[in-house]
């Protein structure tokens, strides 16, 4: 352990404002500042603004959306920036924020996934499990059972994902009540309830093997569990990730859902909703520090030197960057700083965008319709695992796992004429290369990806008009994903639920009084759900109500009481006056700072 010795820093550095500043900040113009206009930050901003708070969103980049953006390729075609599908985005938020009114159009293709195998016949997973099962032959029955189990267990997870996690370090009444509700919810699962504890820590390869035998089928389902994670199908805990990925619906096949105009349209709709609710959004405004005084947030400083005061600061950035780079280390204290430095978030994914002169032809695809969903290149569990093996030794997979989509097949707004765009996730490509530098590997990644695709779609290379490769380094630099961790933290068993990002700090409040995490680093994690943003907004409002119990805030609606717009929302969290106030959760951090 190498915490900064507290005596090494004689004076609190930099960002502690003087009393005069503190005085001026007391009259700050914003109730809440949101750092980062990613989809979660925008969800928080929109919800808080709707509740009547004065909200400012500060975005480092020129455009909003974070990882949910649409980029323009040099050929003119538009392609998904990072994420290419949005199946997990919470439908409740779509209706709460009226995103369709703000231009959000979702497209669900008729096929969930197409999985070419090479020597064996290709496999197609349809949204309708019965149809898939019929085509599977001997594995059909097992597939239906697997599908049923995934739906049942992920349905339960979806419930947990909409609730603020219990603070296991100080459960109190709030914890007891949630515990009782949990047990009740578990009982509704029946026999599956017993299975939950057993399933969650399992390797996904084992989990799928309990139901289906076909190697192609097992890999097709398991691949979704290792997407974006530094884990292989034989890694323990990947079943959790499969279930988490399935909370968007779709069962074993998983859904595929596109946004018309690319994922950027989601960011755009969210920004429009936030603005409509009264939030201000400033782009090209990088936050360089969270300002604090005596352990409480006072505002933020921009890299331009400008300081903006606020009562609450919500960081949509990942917890490592937030705690290590933005918060004053003295205020944070050595223990929490050390814990934050050990967060596991290293990414293993490259992103490629290909502009194609026309639609590609896959040898084993009966028609172009089956290419409308995810195209999964993962022929076999061993193939996936071997691809992962490379990353353990800091190397790029020679035979990578690819997930490709051709959104232009179902969205004509992306390309002109006969052209198409193909978005490809390339795994595994470890952030930390043992040899060489990422900037020299871009061509290699493109070459390996195209060679891999060529095996299933001969002639594809000839259609390529433009290739864009985002290496892990690019993802970190361009999208602010620390260590290229697309999920803001590995969704391993050690970084989920009440210990995401850290045990004792999973209720969105972290580090300082008035500092909240609203990004994917918070519960329930990454995957473009919008739920971390909603959860953080809920807790911010709860704290605002408490600080002024008889004042203006007392009249604010509590997100979570289900009376707002009649949306059934957050079943596990009720009206909560008995829980320890937010400030006391914050002061716990302060006590911790004093610990050696």
């Amino acid at each position: 352990m190498s915490p900064i010795p507290s005596d090494a820093i004689a004076e609190p550095i930099a960002h502690s404002p003087s009393d005069a500043i503190a005085e001026s900040i007391a009259h700050s113009s914003y109730d809440a500042i949101v750092i980062g206009a990613g989809h979660n930050g925008l969800v928080s901003a929109a919800l808080l603004a709707k509740a009547g708070l004065r909200v400012m969103v500060l975005e480092r980049r020129e455009e909003v959306g974070g990882a949910a953006v649409t980029t323009q390729l040099s050929s003119g075609a538009r392609a998904p920036g990072v994420a290419h599908s949005v199946e997990r985005f919470d439908p409740g938020l779509v209706s709460r924020l009226g995103l369709d009114r703000h231009g959000l159009q979702l497209i669900e293709p008729e096929v969930a996934a197409f999985c070419p195998q090479g020597d064996a016949p290709a496999l197609t997973l349809w949204p309708d499990a019965v149809r898939t099962g019929r085509e599977l032959g001997s594995d059909g029955q097992g597939y239906l059972e697997l599908d049923r189990r995934v739906r049942s267990l992920s349905g339960f997870l979806a419930t947990l994902f909409r609730a603020t996690p219990v603070d296991l370090t100080h459960p109190g009444l709030q914890g007891a009540r949630t515990g009782v509700q949990l047990v009740r919810a578990l009982r509704t699962l029946g026999e599956d309830g017993k299975e939950l504890l057993r399933a969650v820590p399992m390797a996904v390869a084992d989990f799928v093997s309990e139901h289906v035998n076909g190697s192609a089928l097992r890999a097709a389902v398991a691949a979704r569990a290792v997407r974006y994670t530094a884990a292989g199908p034989w890694s323990a805990g990947t079943t959790y990730q499969l279930l988490a990925e399935s909370t968007g619906g779709g069962g074993a096949a998983g859904r595929t859902l596109f946004v018309r105009g690319g994922p950027g349209a989601l960011g755009g709709a969210l920004a429009a909703a936030a603005r409509a609710a009264g939030a201000e959004i400033r782009t090209s405004s990088a936050v360089s520090a969270v300002l604090s005084h005596h352990g409480a947030v006072t505002g933020v400083a921009l890299s331009s030197g400008e300081e903006i005061g606020a009562t609450a600061v919500l960081s949509g950035a990942d917890p490592k960057h937030t705690l290590l780079d933005l918060v004053d280390p003295v205020e944070l204290g050595p223990t929490l700083r050390w814990r934050a430095s050990n967060l596991r978030l290293s990414g293993v994914t490259c992103k490629l965008n290909l502009a194609l002169s026309r639609a590609p032809v896959f040898t084993d695809a009966p028609n172009s319709q089956v290419l409308q969903g995810r195209i999964v290149i993962a022929p076999g569990i061993d193939y996936l695992e071997r691809a992962f093996d490379h990353s353990k030794y800091g190397r790029i997979s020679e035979a990578p796992f690819l997930e490709a989509t051709i959104p232009s097949l179902s969205d004509d707004s992306l390309c002109a004429g006969e052209g198409h765009v193909m978005s490809v996730l390339f795994q595994y490509a470890p952030y930390r290369l043992r040899e060489g530098r990422w900037e020299d590997q871009r061509d290699l990644v493109a070459k390996v990806a195209l060679e891999t695709l060529e095996q299933h779609a001969p002639g594809l290379s000839d259609l390529v008009e433009d290739v864009q490769v985002l290496t892990p380094e690019d993802l970190e630099r361009d999208y602010g994903l620390t260590e290229a961790g697309a999920l803001h933290g590995e969704p391993g068993l050690d970084q989920i639920f009440s210990w995401r990002p850290l045990l004792g700090h999973a209720r969105y409040r972290i580090g300082l009084d008035g500092l909240y995490l609203c990004g994917s680093g918070a519960h329930p994690g990454g995957g473009l759900t919008g739920l971390p943003g909603a959860g953080a907004a809920r807790e911010v409002l709860r704290d605002f109500r408490k600080t002024e119990p008889s004042g203006h805030w007392a009249t604010l609606p509590l997100i979570g009481e289900g009376r707002d717009e009649g949306h059934e929302w957050l079943p596990l969290e009720g009206h909560d006056d008995t829980a320890s106030p937010g400030s006391s959760e914050g002061s716990k951090d302060r006590q911790q700072r004093d610990a050696p």
Binding site: M1, L168, K194, E385, D389, L493, D494, K588, Q592
Partner: protein, 529 residues
């Protein structure tokens, strides 16, 4: 009662003997039936080659619960534990040598990393705190996963309370221990690669996992809970080999009145209308008892001794999902002299402890990669000890015995079978040793190679799993061996489990045998009254 015996224990392994001793001490008429000619199961000492005695399988002791040593007065019955000093990790032209002398270890670590030397202390203290916290769990019966019976969960409430009392940092570390990989966990403190690799190795012993697989930090803790005379993390070898542990427990059981028969293989369990009433031996002899305890693993018990068609089909399907996946083998060598390590020549103190072939995290992972695809590791992880250096009586004067625990050796080979591969496996082990101690080939007098298949055939360990089933998170505590049946009872009335397939799992610990016996006694207390 009217029956000849109150209880029959199937299998004279250490857990079976522990149960027998506890039941006999409570006044029960107990019979232990052991298939082999020697007691102890996997904790045996055998004279494999003339004059050379080996702890054939299990080779060190540390996990044996202190309450068992105390309550059964094992010292009085001949148990003497000789401490093993430290762990020596030979490298290409250097070594990493940790010993029980704390100052010396810290000086050694400073050679590698000042930061690691500093962190070593803090880490050690933290792990002792963790072991102390988790210790009570090793002595309680897990609640059943279904039903939520208050009386079963109550013992856990006190654990929850103690969890609340821990400092937050400790709580967080405990949680990491339950969920992380050994290597990820250790790398929070340490940067020296051979140190992390060697310490992580405790996290994979007996499991089909790599040191970077999530869940292995728990196994690390499992091995950290080793206690000798109240000192955590101390390892020793029993004088006379691990068979001496079994012999001392057997002596305690016999003194309490238990009857123990060897070479008495049980052919099947006799059931009458769903209730176990006795056993039939291979000889045809039938013996009745009120209660049966099986210390065999679940496959042996339910698939071989019972007719699976008599069991609930759901239970059978859960059993079929239970993962054994043996991953280790054992090579026992009779030596003419001591090995001479290139990196530290001579017959020094470094040979007196564990010698760990775990030079780097990558090395360990590569060894695991081989196993994942169904091959034994070309360069395996080896945990080697030379018992004759602390217990010279194990070999003729001047000669030595050497025990090599080898991982990975997957039970299921992609190509060939273990009978064909046995020698190649033995050769791979010798080649690996020879890379660091070249004289090994010249000093071997005899070699015994135990593959997972041999472990299954000789010791009844299904698929060669030394823990009676993977110690993976989904097979622990309330889920061990299967969800809903973690309380030592089985769907067959009158039949109990008391082996390593039950909580808290494998290792020469004795805890399953003790808790099962206490549960049996508790269940029959009302009946007796």
């Amino acid at each position: 009662m009217g029956k000849e015996y109150d209880a029959i224990v199937i299998g004279g392994g250490h857990n079976g003997l522990v149960s027998a001793a506890y039941l006999a001490r409570a006044g029960w008429r107990v019979l232990v039936l052991e298939r082999r000619h020697v007691l102890g199961g996997a904790a045996v000492t055998e004279e494999v080659f003339e004059g050379f005695r080996f702890s054939v399988c299990s080779y060190v002791v540390s996990l044996l619960r202190p309450e068992i040593i105390r309550e059964l007065q094992l010292s009085k019955h001949g148990l003497e534990i000789l401490p093993l000093d430290g762990t020596f990790t030979p490298l290409d032209d250097d070594y990493l040598w940790r010993v029980n002398d704390h100052g010396k270890t810290v000086r050694e670590l400073r050679r590698w990393s000042l930061q690691d030397a500093e962190a070593y202390d803090e880490y050690g203290r933290l792990m002792v705190d963790m072991a102390r916290f988790i210790k009570p769990v090793l002595a309680l019966a897990p609640p059943s996963a279904s039903g939520f019976k208050l009386s079963e969960w109550l013992p856990l409430a006190s654990l929850g309370k103690r969890f609340q009392a821990l400092p937050e940092h400790h709580q967080a570390v405990f949680l990491q221990l339950m969920t992380m990989s050994a290597t990820d966990f250790l790398q929070q403190w340490f940067e020296t690669d051979p140190l992390v690799a060697t310490m992580s190795a405790s996290g994979i012993i007996g499991t089909f996992q790599g040191i970077r697989s999530p869940g292995t930090a728990y196994v690390l803790l499992h091995h950290y809970m080793g206690e000798i005379d109240g000192a955590f993390r101390s390892w020793g070898i029993p004088r006379g080999g691990t068979g001496a542990v079994s012999e001392s427990i057997a002596a305690a059981a016999r003194e309490a009145g238990a009857e123990i028969r060897t070479e008495a293989p049980v052919d099947h369990i006799i059931t009458r209308s769903g209730r176990a009433t006795g056993v039939a031996l291979s000889s045809g002899e039938e013996i009745e008892a009120k209660v049966l305890l099986s210390s065999l693993d679940v496959r042996q018990t339910f698939m071989n001794l019972l007719d699976p068609s008599e069991l609930d089909s759901e239970f059978v399907s859960e059993l079929s999902r239970y993962k054994f996946r043996g991953s280790s083998g054992k090579v026992n060598l009779a030596l003419d002299a001591l090995p001479d390590f290139t990196c530290l020549p001579g017959e020094g103190e470094h040979l007196r402890g564990a010698i760990s072939f775990s030079p780097s995290v990558d090395y360990m992972e590569r060894a695991y990669d081989d196993a994942k695809y169904g091959r034994f590791s070309r360069r395996p992880y080896i945990d080697m000890i030379i018992p004759t250096l602390v217990d010279p009586a194990m070999a003729p004067p001047g000669k030595h015995v050497m025990s090599c625990f080898v991982q990975y050796a997957p039970y299921h080979l992609t190509e060939g079978n273990w009978d064909e591969q046995r020698d190649a496996f033995g050769d791979a082990v010798i080649d690996t040793i020879a890379e660091r101690a070249p004289n090994i080939r010249d000093i071997i007098l005899h070699r015994q190679v135990l593959t997972p298949l041999d472990l299954e055939r000789t010791f009844g360990l299904s698929e060669g799993n030394i823990f009676h089933g993977e110690l993976s998170l989904e097979q622990l505590f309330v889920n061990r061996p299967v969800p809903g049946w973690a309380r030592y009872r089985t769907p067959v009335e009158g039949l109990w489990l008391n082996g390593s397939a039950t909580h808290p799992g494998g290792g020469l610990m004795g805890a399953p045998g003790r808790i099962a016996a206490l549960e049996v006694l508790h269940a029959h207390r009302d009946e007796a009254a």
